[in-house]
Symmetry: D2
Subunit: 164 residues, 4 copies
């Protein structure tokens, strides 16, 4: 089985920036994470955007949805900012209704370049999930599997939750 990974940006790829910096979202960190974890799954990484998800607009989400629609591989992982991950996941869900693809969104609350980060753990969970979940669109993060249709990000707690 081959996995396609699309990177969109988000905290997971944040680098250090201060008032003098011109960029905030750096290069995708997922390849480094997969190499460090000695992953031998056949996969392909494609960088779609380098955006903080708060800066994403309708066109950006359609860019992501379109890339997924055109993708041949059935197992798809998307790294994305957590703030509007639900929104993009819903957009994709609508657009691939009835397809046989398994699309898993993940990201992290802390940049991958931090000593202590949830990035490696989340990528590990999402990579397994996209290979075994039935066709559909999911968010897999911090040890749980979420249906974007019933999920919100709890900004105070810094985690995702099932909508009440």
């Amino acid at each position: 089985m081959k996995v396609k990974i699309f990177t969109v940006g988000g905290t997971i790829d944040k680098v250090y920036f201060d008032k003098k910096s011109h960029y905030e979202v750096g290069n995708p960190t997922v390849k480094g994470i997969l190499d460090e974890a000695n992953v031998t799954v056949k996969l392909e990484i494609e960088s779609l955007l380098h955006k903080d998800s708060l800066d994403m607009n309708k066109e950006d989400r359609e860019t992501v949805a379109k890339a997924i629609r055109k993708e041949e591989n059935k197992a798809i992982l998307v790294t994305h900012g957590t703030d509007t991950m639900v929104k993009t996941a819903m957009c994709v869900k609508k657009t691939i209704k009835g397809s046989n693809k398994t699309v898993v969104f993940t990201g992290s609350m802390t940049p991958a370049i931090f000593k202590s980060s949830d990035a490696e753990f989340n990528i590990g969970g999402a990579l397994i999930a996209c290979q075994i979940l039935p066709p559909g669109v999911y968010i897999v993060i911090n040890g749980k599997i979420f249906d974007p249709e019933h999920t919100v990000k709890n900004v105070v707690k810094g985690c995702f939750e099932k909508m009440k």
Copy 2:
């Protein structure tokens, strides 16, 4: 859903030791990994052994199998040394034939206390796997899902593979 985690030892929990040290396998690192990853899954951790898996004997593997047999929760994760993980997984598979439990074995090639380690990634994958795989016994490591009956550890490459 509640997950039960059994820790057995292995490289994942190795601490630094030299000629003067008396201990090699330290306390289980899985809790620290779950805390760092902000995991909110309901779970319980029980430490069965602190062994390098090359030092495990028949009684040790039966200890693991027995604990799994008696366990109420259906989703079970076992952290274990990689050298004889297949052996213990097979022992457990025989012993819980026909049960409705999903047992996932994982570990790491590099200690969790190393700057660069596959530990977090593997725990992330295994925790997701034990919540969604159908009943059975599996090894989930370095991005892949293995059936222990057809798996070997490739010591040279430092990864698991499907038996030829």
Copy 3:
């Protein structure tokens, strides 16, 4: 010998705020660095400010200078942002002319919480320096000892240099 450590802020103490999607100065990281390095030197840590050094004004620098003037201990280490470290060091140098104190400024180009950071190395160098340099005011960073009167920060290279 007892060392007094004053913390002022800077990149070394930057943390990432997921909610606000940017970096801010958090609690001083120097204590954690000293603990990790198993430092047994008698010392005392006092937090004066939590500022990015680009946000420091004349009053802030005078706050630092005053604390140093009033300090009893002769060996003093100051952690400070790198952008205006030379400015504060010069301000202190003028104010303690003729004193028998050794004041060493340091900081880091990368936050201490990053996997890869110069923080530990710089604190290690500065702590040694403040115990053995003759009375005066210095910047000790990235392996070198600088006289603030003849030093600039090379923003492009991300290091300090002797003024041409």
Copy 4:
């Protein structure tokens, strides 16, 4: 000023060998530490040995002493295992009596490849020390400067101390 760095082995350079299930001395880690800390000091690194210092014999220590005697540069840093660092430092002290060289020994209690290690901090301190201490032989570790003639390693506490 140019600094010569000799690497001898020790815990600082220990790596984990999964196949053999123990730690061995790997390649010197000092270069990586200096690069991470963005060090611009002119320096040269020469690897003399790759030994755990408990395995060093009289010939090994003479190898280190001889290299230091023949060395042109006056500022010398030696990375060495901590268990018999005092012994080698004393051997060198006898052999370069009256010379104008400043020789600083350092190492670490925890391998540099560990998430939490005193390696970077110690290298940072030793590099500064060898540039500013007067001619002589020293041990600079965990924030302190020691005269090897009056120093022992406290194995229980895991630190160096002045002899009672």
